[in-house]
């Protein structure tokens, strides 16, 4: 049964590979960086489809090629025909609220399947999400009767727009693994052990939460902060003292989001919108968010102390 579930998960990853290949194929029509963009999404497709059968060293080399391509700006969004607003409006009036069904279905199916067990085994995450998506896709096709070409182009556009940055979590996961093998966590732990009173859950939690906030503020990205701070502080000083790992991890991440609310480094959320909304002061959004963020940091510390222990 375990083998079957692994195959089912691989099947979903193969579908992801097809979606990446679809973007690669569409990139052949790119005006800018045709070769690089096609290559980038093809490589990602290969890793998704054949990751389990290729030697890991080969995947490592492929990652380096991908990094080289993005660093030299060889991965670009293609040009797509502008969307016909009038047609959308007409479809929207015709289809009405049914348009929400596929969207809700993805989440609901994933939620239901997360409760299902086959014998002793929980379903792999890929199967939960993938099944929901396949059902939602058929439902959407039934409700909207879309043109296949349109869907193919729109799918490629979505992937190209989120672009290489969407691979950040996965790559940070890999970085975290190198850090672990290299013993980076140990170095931070030893450093912190000199500062933190030994065995103090309270100080461990406070330092972990504040470090998440500060590192997120510096980097402008809670994901990057999480990979570093959780290995260095969260695991040795909070989880290892008996904290529930899921609760500490979840709260650590959202505590990082409080840092996102406070920093101009998270330009997409805090600075670019001031231009979009034409405010006089470019700190307007951060000023509005600051009292909330500070209060939430305090709440995170309290929640972690009470819920995780």
């Amino acid at each position: 049964m375990a083998a079957f579930l692994d195959y089912a998960a691989e099947f979903i990853f193969i579908l992801c590979g097809f979606i990446s290949f679809n973007a690669a194929y569409r990139a052949l029509e790119n005006e800018n960086a045709k070769v690089g963009t096609t290559l980038f999404w093809s490589i990602l497709g290969v890793i998704f489809m054949f990751g389990k059968v290729l030697p890991y060293e080969v995947c490592g080399i492929l990652l380096l090629v991908m990094g080289g391509l993005t660093m030299t700006h060889q991965v670009q969004v293609g040009t797509f025909a502008p969307v016909d607003q009038k047609a959308r409006q007409q479809y929207s009036e015709k289809i009405g609220n049914k348009i929400f069904i596929p969207a809700v279905l993805v989440a609901v199916v994933a939620l239901i399947l997360s409760r299902v067990k086959l014998g002793e085994l929980a379903l792999p995450g890929a199967v939960m999400v993938g099944t929901g998506c396949i059902l939602a896709l058929f439902t959407a096709m039934f409700i909207c009767r879309p043109n296949f070409q349109d869907t193919r182009h729109d799918t490629a556009r979505l992937l190209m727009q989120v672009g290489s940055a969407s691979l950040l979590p996965q790559l940070l996961g890999a970085l975290g693994q190198v850090f672990t093998k290299a013993g980076v966590g140990d170095v931070i732990s030893t450093m912190m052990a000199g500062i933190l009173p030994e065995g103090s859950i309270f100080f461990g939690v406070v330092v972990y939460c504040l470090a998440m906030v500060i590192f997120t503020m510096i980097m402008g990205n809670a994901f990057a902060a999480f990979s570093v701070i959780t290995v260095g502080i969260g695991i040795p000083f909070v989880i290892a003292q008996g904290g529930d790992a899921s609760v500490v991890g979840a709260l650590g991440m959202t505590c990082g989001y409080c840092g996102t609310l406070l920093t101009p480094m998270a330009a997409n959320f805090n600075i670019v919108p001031t231009a979009v909304l034409e405010t006089k002061d470019k700190w307007t959004i951060i000023k509005a968010q600051a009292p909330m963020a500070l209060l939430l940091i305090l709440i995170h510390i309290i929640l972690m102390l009470t819920l995780a222990f």
Partner: protein, 224 residues
């Protein structure tokens, strides 16, 4: 002490701060850290390749794209805008509180309703401005207008950030689960992380109601 091992963190921080290409930054940080810590080039390739393949779940959202492609083309955003526009006699606080609820639900279901460009500027801000001016009986001055803009944009961020991890396949949840599982905490599942994200989501929802109510009250005062 092997402080040199921390060079990867320095590279990451510097790369992000200087807006260097993120993929390249992370790869360089990994390879430099590995090499100064005595791992061989091949070992680093294997560790990164293996971890990237085992963490493919973090990029599972690719499989959601065709569904989003269809429903967006067939008017998902237009329909949402229509539903929000139907609210009558709203105060600024009510408009923002309602948007917070919708934004949070959408974010928790991983539906892409929202965005400063797509939703706040064309829809939510004009509605909250109109409601605030109606309640006040006179146009807002520039400073008040800025305050309202800041508040509206904040709501977009609160709803986006703190509800997204309720979705078990959100990239944040997958990163938490992946990182902790690799560190040896195999009992952490995407469902347990999503469940642990519920209290904060609810607290932020309630606090945002308080904040918009206070701001609305302040805006109604005649003189600032």
């Amino acid at each position: 002490m092997d402080y040199i091992k921390l060079i990867g963190i320095v590279i990451i921080v510097a790369g992000f701060v200087m807006k260097f290409d993120v993929l390249a930054t992370v790869l360089i940080a990994g390879f430099v850290t590995g090499l100064v810590s005595g791992l061989s080039f091949m070992e680093i390739l294997r560790i990164m390749g293996e971890s990237f393949v085992n963490n493919r779940l973090m990029s599972i959202f690719l499989v959601i794209f065709p569904v989003i492609a269809i429903i967006e083309r067939y008017g998902l955003k237009e329909r949402s805008a229509y539903l929000i526009g139907k609210i009558k006699n709203a105060s600024a606080a009510k408009v923002l509180a309602l948007y917070m609820i919708i934004r949070s639900i959408a974010s928790a279901a991983n539906i892409r309703i929202g965005g400063h460009v797509e939703f706040v500027r064309p829809l939510i801000l004009p509605m909250s401005e109109a409601a605030a001016e109606k309640a006040k009986g006179e146009p807002l001055n520039e400073k008040q207008r800025d305050t309202l803009k800041g508040m509206t944009a904040s709501i977009e961020n609160y709803g986006n950030f703190f509800a997204q991890n309720l979705f078990p396949a959100a990239s944040g949840v997958l990163l938490i689960q992946g990182a902790l599982a690799e560190a040896g905490y195999g009992e952490v599942t995407i469902s347990s992380v999503a469940a642990a994200s519920i209290p904060v989501a609810i607290i932020v929802l309630c606090l945002s109601f308080v904040q918009v109510w206070l701001k609305d009250k302040k805006l109604r005062r005649r003189e600032e």
